[in-house]
Amino acid sequence: MDDGIIRSIVESTTDVFSTMISIELDKNPAPKAESDLQQCQIMAMVGLAGRSMGILSFHCTPQTGITITSNMLGSPVTTLDDDVKDAVGEVANMIAGNFKTRMSRLGQSFDLSVPTVVVGERFSTRTMTDAPTVVLQFQGGGHTVYVKLNYKT
């Protein structure tokens, strides 16, 4: 996948975490296989549709989702409740929106769907497009999160 697209995903993800979640993620994420995502149990995805198209998804464990929610709200959350699902969906939404803004500066345009959040064990996803896919593993604050982008211009 193009370096400019990867850079936009990295900057969007680290910016969202730094500003809204108070976690500084490593700015050099490791590329990973899609099979690594099966350990996560929470996925939030946003569809991209237009001249460019694809799916952006954010993946984390329940414990990391709880930490994300606690940090965003500034008050402790202890269980994987609706607030956690809502917060993880909003993280995916912010990363996708930030990515959209950056890609528009490169002349690539698309609209965003509202986020969909899935919670479960050992599920996998399959996209119907032949678009290239990248999975990036970010680490920071003792947590590991993944962003997967399936994107075609």
């Binding site: 500003t19 965003m72 709200l73 917060a87």
Partner: protein
Amino acid sequence: MLGNVLIVDDSAVMRKIVAKSIIQAGYVFARVLEASDGYEALHQISQNRFDLVLTDVNMPNMDGLELARIIQEMNLDPPLPVVIITTEGTEDKIHEAEGYGVRAYLTKPFAPAQLKAKLGPILDERQEA
């Protein structure tokens, strides 16, 4: 003290974050009311008087830009200031929002200081009115 503020977002967590950010920015409103889409927001506006509407754009049923367009057409006196808080910061969205009389446009993620910088001139003007 300011009157009421309406926070419109389909994410309950984001509504809580915006409400918290307003307080962190140093503004005190009589009441903070919430709506999860544009339709709910219009219902709230028909039932209450507001000094400010803070709305997301990308929501089901009625989005924030349509809400801003309808509020502009209502010709309220004094005009009800609308501020967009959204993930999307593309030039075409910002331009469209300006066409609907939106007073300020803030992209998520945002820090409370950025919110304060956007709201300051609007709320100072409102308090003087």
